[in-house]
């Protein structure tokens, strides 16, 4: 349903992993004119959908038809010996599945943006398991919520107001009955919203987590402080965690991207497992892109692995550090890139980007981004959850159906259909 002058209720927002599904979108004369309930970023995403938009495919800077752009993309892919397919976190599940199909068909490497966000979370969970919770369960039951290395006020603006500072079945007054704490290396907007801010020294997350584990188990420590926090304060934190009725630890990239990487997550998971000997605790990654969680799930359904997958031998192999995008580029291994719904030029380190400048890049994205500047082939796509439907997975694993509220620009089609066109041509070329 994409009639002019229409109001769409309960639209899931496709910005962050919160996938807030109470957004009201008003469409007038083919334009989105209002987003009610969305955070400032959500409003920009919906109302500003046409800004900085790419409307026509290009090859080497020249405007071409979609068919010509796909034809050139297929030439690049077919002549590539080590294609890297990357991105996929800001698109819907069906597009992701087409990307894995293309990777299998061409014997390529396929990685999603997880490798530079919560990849270590997955590695930690593979090591230690997962003690998870749902956002609804957290809202209804949790009397202590701790954010660790996360700044939801900036990255997930409605996480606290929509899910945490809300009453639930067993939490009648969310300000009195539920305490919100933050552990971080710096004061942020979030630190001013929470009930308690615990500042730790940069790079000491692992030590602080392991100290809490030791204290919860009743060990005495012969140091006066860890990570800049005194042992008496850490003892008090450990006791509060142990005596909470239902706790949830939300962690962000402050834990996954800092020193220790997956070992930090491993320690956090084990802390939660320890606490479950006394009371009920869960933990959850603060997933950034709206469907990065879905990228892990679809990848695992299809290939058996969540990211960093190589099909060179005809079957999937998983090896972070080897088949992850930054490593593939920094080593100079990839000889072509198919980028879908991500912007590696803006978000990858210098030498990885430098290699991108040397190889042919096919960039599928609704907007003009930094990768567009380096790409030989640019193909505009419809914005999933606004201009086409699909499915995506919330940060707690809940799948949600995405809505189409408006037609895409003329001639612009969804990521999944662009990939299907490429696969159809490649099936002929690669016979």
């Amino acid at each position: 349903m994409t009639e002019a002058n229409e109001t769409f209720k309960d639209v899931p927002c496709t910005f962050c992993g919160c996938l807030c599904d109470d957004i009201i979108i008003e469409v007038e004369e083919g334009k989105i004119v209002k987003n009610t309930n969305g955070c400032p970023i959500s409003k920009e995403r919906f109302v500003g959908r046409m800004e900085n938009r790419r409307l026509q495919p290009t090859v080497s800077g020249n405007t071409v038809t979609l068919e010509k752009a796909v034809e050139r993309a297929v030439e690049i892919i077919a002549s590539s010996k080590r294609l890297l397919i990357y991105g996929l976190s800001s698109t819907e599940n069906d597009a992701q599945r087409e990307a894995y199909r293309l990777a299998e068909l061409t014997g390529s490497v396929v990685d999603n943006t997880t490798s530079v966000c919560h990849g270590p979370t997955i590695l930690g969970a593979q090591e230690s398991g997962e003690a998870t919770a749902s956002l609804a369960e957290t809202r209804h039951r949790s009397d202590l919520v701790i954010y660790w290395g996360a700044n939801p006020a900036a990255a997930h603006p409605r996480h606290i107001p929509h899910y945490i500072r809300q009453p639930g079945e067993y939490i009648k007054d969310p300000k009195e009955d539920r305490k919100i704490w933050l552990v971080d290396i710096r004061a942020t907007t979030t630190s001013r919203m929470v009930d308690r801010f615990i500042r730790i020294e940069p790079g000491t997350d692992l030590e602080v987590l392991q100290t809490l584990r030791a204290l919860i188990r009743g060990h005495k420590l012969d140091v006066s402080e860890v990570g800049g926090i005194s042992i008496p304060e850490l003892e008090e934190v450990a006791t509060a965690m142990k005596t909470a009725k239902y706790g949830v630890l939300f962690f962000g990239l402050g834990l996954t991207q800092s020193r220790g990487r997956h070992r930090n997550i491993d320690a956090a998971i084990r802390l939660i497992q320890d606490l479950n000997a006394y009371t009920k605790w869960g933990l959850m990654p603060m997933r950034g892109h709206y469907n990065v969680s879905g990228a892990n799930k679809t990848s695992t359904w299809v290939t058996g692995y969540p990211y960093a997958i190589d099909f060179a031998r005809g079957y999937p192999r998983f090896q972070p550090g080897e088949y992850t995008a930054v490593d593939m580029l920094a080593r100079g291994e990839a000889d072509a890139l198919l980028n879908i719904a991500a912007d590696p030029v803006a978000h990858f380190p210098r030498s990885a980007v430098a290699h991108l400048a040397k190889i042919p890049v096919i960039n599928i994205d609704p907007k003009i981004n930094m990768t567009s500047q380096l790409a030989e082939v640019n193909i505009p796509a419809a914005i999933a959850g606004i201009e086409c439907d699909g499915a995506a997975t919330r940060m707690d694993g809940l799948p949600l159906y995405l809505r189409k509220v408006i037609e895409p620009p003329q001639g612009v089609i969804p990521d999944r259909d662009i990939l299907r066109m490429m696969i159809k041509s490649l099936e002929k070329v690669m016979k």
Binding site: P40, T324, H347
Partner: protein, 134 residues
């Protein structure tokens, strides 16, 4: 009074402005304004002898880039903050400790005041990376 370089650990992360500008579009002045900045605490600003909004040059082990200094009174001395994006990443090496994840959270840098230095636009930055110019 300018007393020369300061050495800090710079961390990167999201900001609301960066998120909004990213959704609007990366080839916009909004995006450049949101990510071509470096937040410093009061002692760092004093050491550099600069005011809020003046240009500084941030130098890592691999390169340097000009960005705008922004006072953040809540920052702890010794820590600076650059929103995640191409300006921070221009200074970052790609080593991932074999995990796939570069060290986005703790980059040792030196910072100098650089009044009048030109801050490259997002498009210029992309071009600099393309050409490998420094």
């Amino acid at each position: 009074m300018n007393s020369g370089s300061i050495n800090v650990i710079v961390t990167s992360g999201r900001t609301l402005g960066q998120g909004r500008a990213m959704e609007k579009g990366k080839i916009t002045s909004d995006y450049e304004d949101a990510v071509a900045i470096c937040e410093l605490d009061e002692t760092a600003m004093k050491s550099l002898g600069i005011e809020n909004g003046e240009t500084i040059v941030v130098k890592s082990g691999i390169d340097k880039i000009a960005v705008k200094a922004k006072l953040n009174k809540n920052l702890h001395p010794g820590i600076a903050f650059i929103p995640c994006g191409p300006y921070f990443n221009y200074l970052l090496e790609s080593y991932t400790q074999h995990t796939g994840m570069p060290g986005f959270k703790s980059l040792a840098v030196s910072i100098d005041a650089a009044p009048g230095a030109k801050i490259p636009s997002v498009e210029e930055l992309a071009q600099m990376m393309k050409e490998g110019t420094k």
